[in-house]
């Protein structure tokens, strides 16, 4: 069994301990363990059906494990928490189409029962931060896919989350939009000091973003490999991707998945 | 719609329970009412009315009126709908007329029909015809508008005559959605026929119901009420089955007015 340990010093903020998950008679995850350090950026890759999204939903408290435990700061995750935010892949379904961009971000403040005064300014600041300044009055279906995903990120930031869980957030976007958003997510995460857990099927995206990459394999879903990424910050779409370290990591993960599939 | 075919035992608890409670309550309180009757009484009255043929005769009258009106109203509406769907200028020219006439509640024409025809079949089916004409027109028009434009281009490229275009391309392509309109119109025709009978026309199920109620036979009146409900349910069920049988998956379109 491969055990994945937090690179960062001190207690892990999130911990998955020997988790099994069976849903509707199907074994989705078997004996999965992982630790995520405070402030760490962890990416999960793997072929479809490997349970990477399921792992995210366990961390979110949307699923409960059949066996084992998921803990947040040492406490069992029994339900979703306001300081753990989730960015869903299908932004079109996760936004309220009848609310403006401003109203969608406001929903998070309403849920927290935050005071009304000063809220509008905070919302505008968040919209500016994700690059939606001045777009507050638009409805989601008046925004492009990339902008809708930015809006979802803004709503998550409104929760001032300690942990940001992202489920293939850029999977449905075109390459240019995707790269722009990768850099913005990186800078936002570094700026807020949040811990990030990022699910993707794109190896390069995982290496580019992560401090650590976890590789998973399917049938049943399990953790198979974990690699530390020691690329310098801030990362750059051109130089980082040409870095020999980047290329060798990509090769390592690529070969691993190739081998596992054959 | 599928709920019609699938039988979930949980769904039967409420109606069966209500019937039992109604029966028990009626017996315990020794119900003496001009309006309500215990379910057993309703059942007996219904069986008696079925056995002596009076209920079946009334059913025949109502259905005859409903379907005669439907045949006139729907075919007229469908013909207009096809023409307006095919020829945009016609559609635009008739827009105001259609939008002004359509919202006239069908029952508002009841006194008009009464004045012109007096009591009888003709006043009833003319109102049913008016009521079914509009959904037929509107839904056929939108069914035509929903035809794949490529198909119409094909028919033009083949230089089909207008008649051939309508009968070989347009109607077959729009048929699934026109059938949905028909299903809706069948329901409307039955509702309107019963309504006309309840309010004015002394024939059919609606009148029988009114007669029984005013003759202080609540059991019989309620039996007619249940029968009308069953009839509506059966007619709709037949239409759903026919739709599935005729069009299969293509029938998965809903009518919206």
């Amino acid at each position: 069994m491969v055990s994945v340990n937090a690179k960062a010093a001190g207690d892990p903020i999130l911990e998955i301990d020997k988790v099994n998950l069976t849903l509707g008679g199907h074994e989705i995850l078997r004996d999965v363990s992982a630790q995520i350090g405070n402030g760490e950026f962890v990416c999960v890759v793997g072929p479809s059906g490997c349970g990477k999204t399921t792992m995210l939903r366990l961390l979110a408290g949307l699923y409960q494990p059949s066996a084992g435990a998921v803990t947040y700061r040492g406490q069992r995750m029994l339900h979703p928490r306001q300081d753990i935010a989730i960015v869903f892949q299908d932004y079109g379904k996760a936004l309220l189409p009848w609310r403006t961009a401003h109203g969608n971000v406001a929903l998070a403040f309403e849920a927290m029962g935050a005071p009304r005064n000063g809220r509008d300014e905070k919302i505008e600041q968040l919209l500016v931060k994700v690059g939606l300044g001045g777009q507050g009055k638009k409805y989601p279906n008046q925004l492009s896919g990339g902008m809708q995903q930015r809006l979802q990120i803004a709503r998550c930031l409104a929760q001032s989350p300690a942990v940001l869980l992202m489920d293939e957030p850029f999977g449905a976007l075109d390459a240019m939009t995707r790269q722009g958003l990768q850099d913005e997510v990186l800078s936002i995460v570094r700026e807020t000091g949040a811990t990030a857990f990022f699910v993707t099927h794109d190896l390069e995206e995982a290496i580019y973003l992560g401090d650590r990459v976890i590789g998973m394999l399917p049938h049943p879903g399990r953790v198979a490999i974990t690699v530390d990424v020691n690329l310098p910050h801030p990362r750059n779409q051109l130089t980082t991707r040409e870095d020999p370290e980047f290329l060798s990591l990509r090769r390592q993960l690529f070969d691993f998945i190739k081998d596992a599939e054959s | 719609m599928n709920a019609l075919m699938r039988i979930d035992p949980r769904g039967m608890i409420l109606p069966v329970g209500l019937i039992i409670v109604a029966e028990a309550a009626a017996r315990l309180t020794n119900l003496q009412s001009d309006a309500l009757a215990p379910p057993s009484d309703i059942l007996l009255s219904g069986i008696k009315a079925l056995a002596d043929g009076s209920m079946l005769y009334a059913t025949w009258q109502t259905l005859a009126n409903a379907f005669a009106g439907l045949a006139i109203g729907f075919s007229l509406g469908m013909a207009l709908g096809i023409l307006m769907g095919l020829f945009r200028p016609l559609n635009r020219l008739l827009e105001v007329t259609v939008e002004v006439l359509r919202p006239i509640p069908s029952v508002a024409l009841l006194p008009v029909a009464l004045l012109v025809y007096g009591f009888g079949h003709r006043m009833e089916f003319s109102i049913v015809a008016f009521a079914t004409l509009w959904p037929a027109l509107i839904l056929t028009r939108s069914a035509i508008a929903g035809i794949e434009p490529r198909l119409l281009e094909v028919s033009r490229a083949l230089q089909l005559s207008l008649g051939a275009r309508i009968f070989k391309i347009v109607i077959p392509a729009a048929l699934p959605r026109i059938f949905v309109a028909l299903r809706l119109a069948v329901g409307i025709s039955l509702i309107v026929a019963v309504t006309v009978e309840v309010t004015t026309n002394p024939m059919g199920l609606g009148y029988k119901m009114m007669e029984a109620s005013q003759g202080l036979q609540p059991g019989l009146a309620l039996a007619y009420l249940v029968w009308v409900g069953m009839l509506g349910w059966a007619v709709n069920g037949i239409m759903v089955l026919a739709q599935k049988h005729l069009f299969g998956a293509a029938a998965n379109v809903e009518a919206r007015l």
Partner: protein, 254 residues
């Protein structure tokens, strides 16, 4: 583009005017006996007379009031009940089939029962309108609530929304398109049942007005009433559809 649209609309109005003129010709040349069909001129005179003397106006407002009260009652009850049934999978399984059984029952068929229970009273008319208008509302709301995007429930869990917040901020607005469609249908039904109720219970209103006019062979009065009913249907449908497009303005894409 706008100009073209206006031109077509103008042409369409002209066509409608042409039909009215044709109607005038029918009565002028006595193609149909004026006992049955008065010309538009005489119907218009009756309408103006009825409104200026106030008789028709009083009846018209009475009908509109009944329609609106019954409709509001039906809408309120329909939305509340529909929300209760629609938001619970279990409630749907138990109650849904019963609703399906009741659905094809014509609302007018309960009129005899309502008369027997409540007499020829104002309450009876309102009860019938509310009962008839309830079904479209109820079914539409149940459908709306059961069709809420499941992802939005996850979003509300992740955000930590309370139960009431989920109903009022997620489920209700998400069901709004269905609810508004139900309200539109329900309003049509309400007008029809208001007219029927007035005819049967002889309550003062347009329904009894046109019925009495027909019995007395006063066809201009009859047609004046029919015109007012058409106007009521048209205006109420238009108002509601404006309200609908305002409520659903978020649907318009860029």
């Amino acid at each position: 583009m706008k100009v073209e649209r206006l031109l077509w609309l103008g042409a369409s109005v002209l066509v409608f005017a042409g039909f009215i003129y044709f109607w005038q010709l029918i009565s002028d040349y006595r193609w149909v006996s004026p006992v049955f069909l008065p010309g538009p001129d005489r119907a218009w005179q009756a309408l103006v007379r009825g409104i200026t003397t106030g008789d028709l106006l009083v009846r018209w407002t009475a009908t509109i009031e009944r329609m609106i009260y019954g409709w509001l009652l039906a809408s309120l009850a329909g939305i509340c009940l529909g929300a209760l049934i629609g938001s619970s999978e279990r409630a749907r399984a138990y109650i849904g089939p019963t609703l399906e059984l009741m659905r094809p029952l014509p609302a007018s068929a309960v009129v005899p029962l309502a008369i027997a229970l409540l007499g020829l009273s104002e309450t009876m008319v309102l009860a019938v309108i509310a009962f008839g208008g309830l079904w479209p509302m109820l079914l539409a709301t149940v459908h709306g609530f059961s069709a809420v995007e499941p992802r939005l429930y996850e979003v509300s869990r992740a955000l930590g929304l309370s139960r009431t917040a989920v109903i009022f901020k997620i489920a209700l607005p998400s069901s709004m398109p269905d609810i508004l469609a139900g309200m539109r249908l329900s309003l049509t039904v309400a007008l029809i049942l208001a007219v029927i109720g007035e005819m049967l219970a002889s309550r003062d209103g347009l329904g009894s007005h046109i019925m009495l006019a027909a019995r007395a062979f006063r066809s201009p009065d009859l047609f004046a009433g029919v015109i007012l009913l058409g106007v009521t249907g048209l205006v109420s449908a238009m108002l509601l559809s404006w309200f609908e497009s305002w409520m659903l303005r978020w649907r318009e894409s860029r």
